[in-house]
């Protein structure tokens, strides 16, 4: 009996040792030593954070990294042209909600699950796939394949002037009715000799769809119906257009149809608007005392609830491996993606102001103890949890369809008959959608 127990103990010990060796052991980071990889990056705060650390990766792996960084518009064009021309591009940044269907259909995105589950290529336990927010990671998936790893999770938040809401004893909007009431209350109110604007939002056609989508979902509408046809003329969608247009027309800035995020955030930072609904990443602008007059006076909350519930979208910037790269370069690039998105780097990115894609970064004591805007953190986390991964219309020609929907938003702001405009938009959308 004693011998038997001893045997069991020894066997258990051997098994545990074997398990820990296979699971916990680090991968061979130098397996692609001497390989050169070329990455195309957007000039984004994550790139600013990771670029100086590349030497660290090169030293660890012996892989030479050539990173080329371009401003966003130029970056999108450059990425498209280079991938189409078949030049050496091994990895790139991508907003999956904008380009994944086009890029996947073109064969420019390598599926990552083969790398993520390969113990020779991925330190599975330490990298910890389950630590990433589910919503954004789902957004970076197509036809069951993971095509990117999230470096920046993005959701839109309602930012409001905490000081004014307290001063005038106005309730922070929890519902769409309360949002309208608050906008109405502050609109044209004179504060510090300045006439206030109730709320500022994007009104410039295609650009406005990025935030309008949250209203669309929250009012119970959607881009397309279950059969894939345009659904922007459904009663729920029309209500969303109507509400969004009315907010801007009656309680918004002058000439809102030319408002992109730059104009909208500037108006809010200038201290003339009581509220703004835009991407959470703009907190770094609002809270910058050198550029913003409202730094330290801003409160944050999620989108108010509507007839369809509280349904913000959640989008993301991801790092992708190019489908056009050679197998060896793809694997070497995967090592880079894995390293750049490890727990330490995502925490570092969050500390430098990038809303990182890992939950552990947001709960890390280093971040929590230095967090000056806990309501922003809580609202962002809540939006990531409840967010819809479908940000843009589910089509190949996203920009073209956004333009069509944008026209309905402009018509609504201009006070035209929204039903007629939405029906016309839906008709054109059905003609133009490519899947």
């Amino acid at each position: 009996m004693k011998i038997k127990l001893q045997k069991v103990l020894i066997l258990t010990l051997v098994f545990v040792t074997f398990l820990s060796v296979t699971v916990l052991a680090d991968i061979n980071w130098r397996q692609f030593e001497g390989t050169e990889i070329r990455l195309l990056m957007n000039k984004h705060p994550f790139t600013t954070f990771i670029e100086p650390k590349i030497a660290e990766f090169e030293e660890k792996t012996g892989i030479k990294v050539v990173m080329e960084v371009f401003p966003e518009d130029q970056f999108r064009d450059k990425r498209l042209i280079e991938l189409n021309a078949g030049g050496k591009v091994d990895g790139f940044m991508i907003m999956p909600g904008q380009a994944k269907l086009h890029y996947w259909t073109a064969g420019w995105l390598a599926p990552l699950e083969g790398f993520m589950t390969n113990p020779n290529l991925t330190n599975i336990k330490e990298w910890d796939l389950g630590d990433f927010f589910a919503g954004p990671m789902t957004g970076a998936r197509i036809e069951g394949h993971q095509i990117g790893v999230v470096i920046n999770a993005e959701a839109s938040l309602l930012a409001y002037r905490k000081d004014l809401f307290e001063k005038f004893n106005v309730k922070v909007p929890e519902t769409m009715e309360e949002l309208e009431a608050a906008a109405k209350f502050f609109h044209k109110k004179v504060v510090d000799e300045k006439e206030m604007i109730g709320i500022t939002l994007r009104g410039k056609a295609a650009a406005a769809t990025s935030q309008f989508v949250d209203f669309l979902y929250t009012f119970g509408g959607s881009w397309t119906d279950s059969e894939g046809n345009a659904n922007i003329a459904s009663p729920e969608s029309i209500n969303a257009f109507d509400f969004y247009g009315k907010l801007l027309r009656e309680y918004g800035p002058k000439g809102p149809t030319m408002y992109h995020w730059a104009e909208s955030t500037s108006t809010f930072m200038d201290g003339t608007a009581a509220m703004i609904f835009d991407a959470n990443v703009f907190k770094s602008l609002y809270e910058n005392p050198e550029e913003s007059k409202v730094a330290g006076k801003v409160g944050y909350t999620t989108i108010p609830a509507g007839p369809g519930g509280r349904l913000p979208h959640v989008s993301n910037w991801s790092l992708a491996v190019s489908g056009t790269a050679t197998p060896e370069c793809q694997k070497a690039t995967w090592l880079f993606v894995q390293w750049a998105t490890n727990k330490e780097n995502e925490l570092g990115a969050l500390l430098s102001g990038v809303p990182a894609g890992r939950e552990s970064a947001w709960t890390d004591p280093k971040f929590v103890s230095t967090d000056k805007t806990p309501d922003w953190t809580a609202s962002s986390l809540k939006s990531f949890a409840i967010g819809q991964p479908q940000w843009n219309p589910p089509v190949l020609n996203v920009s073209e369809i956004r333009d069509i929907v944008g026209q309905v938003i402009v018509d609504s702001i201009d006070g035209k008959d929204v039903k007629v405009s939405a029906e016309q938009g839906a008709k054109i959308m059905d003609q133009k959608m490519e899947k």
Binding site: K254, N397, Q407
Partner: protein
């Protein structure tokens, strides 16, 4: 060796009419003719960048264009914008040239100042106008308030956006028309004017019966030159409105650019640009015909 050299020299001498212009013709072919031919070929294809090779679809893109409401909007905007701005530029350019043609104290200084907008880079001035036309922070609404007028939405309203863009275009390009007409005026013969004065003609009579007929060929040249640029106006519109609000100021030329470079639909984008090309061609043929007729008469 000597004979070989002689042979080459005699070959060059005999074919000088081909060899000398050859570099220019080759360059012209590569950068102008080939892209035009390729564009025409592409207009018969369906091709979105990255999604397979171009697929020949015959006239389908042209058929699609005629049932595309955005195409008709582009056409309407193009004619409205160009019609208004070209007419204003020609009329104002002519009147200002007639005025500047008179010698007065400081006339050369005024002429120099006057051509500033024409000399400035279009994108740079468009950026400044974009700020001035902003209804919230722009200077133009401030000026309106100084003279007791209500503020305008300028480029932020579909109703006033084209008029605002015409304002910028006229401000920028009228000096060019003035310069051309002024050069024409300076070269006019003095005799008819002297005869008219002796006959007791009034100033308007001199203008209508002498200046206008004599300057007509110059005016037509100015119109042709300006219309070539104006019908495919891009920098001012793109910088100030990008075709907005919505598509209220999107000319056909801008729509073709967006189709090719924002929507990456190169086949359809090529079709639209070919249509713009044909429209500009037809417009200029008509102008030339009118000009020819007026000269014959």
């Amino acid at each position: 060796m000597k004979r070989f050299k002689e042979k080459i020299l005699s070959f060059v001498d005999n074919h000088i009419h081909i060899i000398f212009p050859a570099p220019t013709i080759i360059a012209l072919f590569v950068v102008v003719i080939f892209p035009i031919i390729y564009n025409i070929y592409m207009s018969f294809n369906k091709w979105r960048i990255g999604l397979g090779s171009p697929k020949f679809i015959g006239l389908q893109n042209y058929i699609d264009a005629f049932s595309d409401p955005r195409f008709w909007n582009g056409l309407k905007v193009m004619f409205f914008f160009s019609g208004l701005s070209l007419s204003l530029e020609i009329v104002l350019g002519l009147l200002i040239a007639v005025y500047l043609n008179k010698e007065f104290k400081g006339s050369s200084f005024v002429q120099t100042i006057y051509i500033f907008p024409f000399a400035a880079t279009p994108v740079a001035i468009a950026l400044i106008w974009r700020i001035m036309l902003n209804p919230q922070i722009g200077a133009l609404n401030y000026f309106l308030s100084l003279i007791g007028l209500p503020p305008s939405l300028w480029i932020s309203s579909a109703k006033t956006v084209i008029l605002s863009l015409v304002l910028v275009d006229v401000w920028k390009w009228t000096p060019m028309i003035t310069l051309i007409v002024l050069a024409g005026l300076k070269s006019l013969p003095k005799d008819p004017y002297e005869a008219a004065v002796i006959d007791g003609a009034s100033i308007p009579q001199v203008f209508y019966h002498i200046t206008l007929p004599l300057i007509q060929p110059v005016l037509f040249s100015a119109l042709v030159l300006r219309s070539l640029d104006n019908l495919k106006e891009f920098d001012i519109i793109y910088t100030i409105t990008q075709g907005g609000p919505g598509i209220a100021s999107e000319t056909l030329y801008l729509y073709s650019y967006k189709t090719a470079f924002s929507f990456f639909n190169c086949g359809y984008g090529s079709t639209l640009i070919i249509i713009v090309f044909l429209l500009v061609l037809i417009f200029n043929l008509i102008i030339n015909k009118i000009r020819y007729k007026s000269e014959v008469l």
